[in-house]
Symmetry: C2
Subunit: 221 residues, 2 copies
DNA sequence: TAGATTGTTAATCGATTAACAATC
DNA sequence: TAGATTGTTAATCGATTAACAATC
């Protein structure tokens, strides 16, 4: 009997821990590739260098579709390519950044994004002082023009580096104009309609992990 | 018979997912507290606002030691206090920041850290152009003085915002001088001796989650 | 062929969720 | 007392790890 169930995911969701580890391999492999220590690398070697387990490396690589050769290991360049394609980093996505403050400027100046298929095309800000400026070669436009520009350029990714107090409002504007994914650096939870992606970057969460671990460490005798 | 096993953890390790969620509650509760919608709040309400499950909120709160009252809910201010104390955010920790570039400057200017018990006392940089400057009221000192200053001030936390190429070297210097925890924003894995904490902030990991989710979303029909 | 390394199937572990008891 | 909400114990789920088979 055929399965009648029409409502099934076309692609099964990838576990988030795997997605978070892939870039770590990617950065590592690119470095290794430049240093050229042979064409192949074993998962044991990767695991040792990255302080993890060989079996986890194998499992993660399997998810990208990359295949190794028994006795030889994994072909480094193919591994890099497989991760790139799997994450969609082989095609560049254009993004707008909203909020050209300190953090926003830092992101505008970050050269690494082009390796990850992300191109920040322009920035938007509410302050007349900033509008018209260029930050690392990216124009700062008035936030008033945001909806029109998102529509015109078909921008799908918004990077939100505005103050917490305006975050929700700006998110709404972006979503209403066609943005499908928001990378949120504002320290508030923002609400979006179903089907829109929010990736929340919370420094406080990371700091909490560090704080607690340090407290436990210092408390030990 | 008494347990002879001397090597057991004094405090059992807290699951990382819990640690990462606590600041989210914290930020939310502080906002709620200012808006003063009563003295108590139910976990159902928290869960709804934060888009999670009531049972998870209850479990997380239990870990901090905060107690609620059946029928009433949790006392908001006590909840805030409990999280603060649990994470050690009631006492301020002093930190040095190493690498006064774009990102470093953004962190120096971030006002939120004082709410999380973190005080960045000074910055260090290798560039003579930056040394002597003040960024958001924080002095930029020559990196040469880093070991001496860490020792003299008894600094335990280092924030690493230097380029990837110097990250390991700077981490070694910090650890050798007495730093116990490194918050690493450089896009490389750094190695530290056992017993030293590294909290690795990897934008690429977050971007990978966003990229893949967006790709799947856009691929659906 | 023998041996090293990948790939796959099974077991374990831990976090999340559910069910229900306790309590104000 | 009745009912709402917390707190706790049990069940489920998913990710990690282990064991072993496949393969170059």
């Amino acid at each position: 009997m055929l399965k009648q169930n029409a409502v099934r995911p076309v692609v099964k969701a990838i576990p988030e821990p795997v997605l978070r580890r892939l870039p770590v391999y990617y950065q590592y492999l690119r470095k290794i590739n430049l240093e050229q220590s042979g064409e192949y690398i074993s998962c044991a070697r990767i695991a040792e260098d990255l302080n993890t387990l060989a079996i986890q490396v194998r499992k993660d690589m399997a998810i990208t579709g990359a295949a190794g050769k028994p006795k030889l290991g994994y072909p480094i360049r193919e591994l890099i390519k497989a991760i790139e394609i799997f994450l969609g980093w082989n095609n560049t996505s254009e993004a707008y950044l909203v909020g050209a403050g300190n953090l926003g400027s830092a992101l505008l100046g970050y050269q690494g994004f082009k390796d990850y298929g992300l191109n920040i095309v322009a920035a938007f800000d509410a302050s007349p002082d900033k509008v018209g400026e260029e930050i690392y070669g990216k124009k700062v436009l008035p936030v008033k023009k945001l909806p029109e520009m998102i529509r015109r350029m078909g921008i799908k990714i918004g990077i939100l580096t505005a103050p917490a107090s305006c975050a929700q409002e700006l998110a709404d504007i972006m979503v209403n104009s066609g943005v499908k994914a928001i990378w949120n650096f504002a320290p508030v939870k923002i609400s979006v309609p179903e089907g829109i992606i929010v990736q929340h970057e919370n420094l406080a969460s990371s700091l909490a992990v560090l704080s607690k671990r340090l407290a436990l460490l210092l408390a030990e005798r």
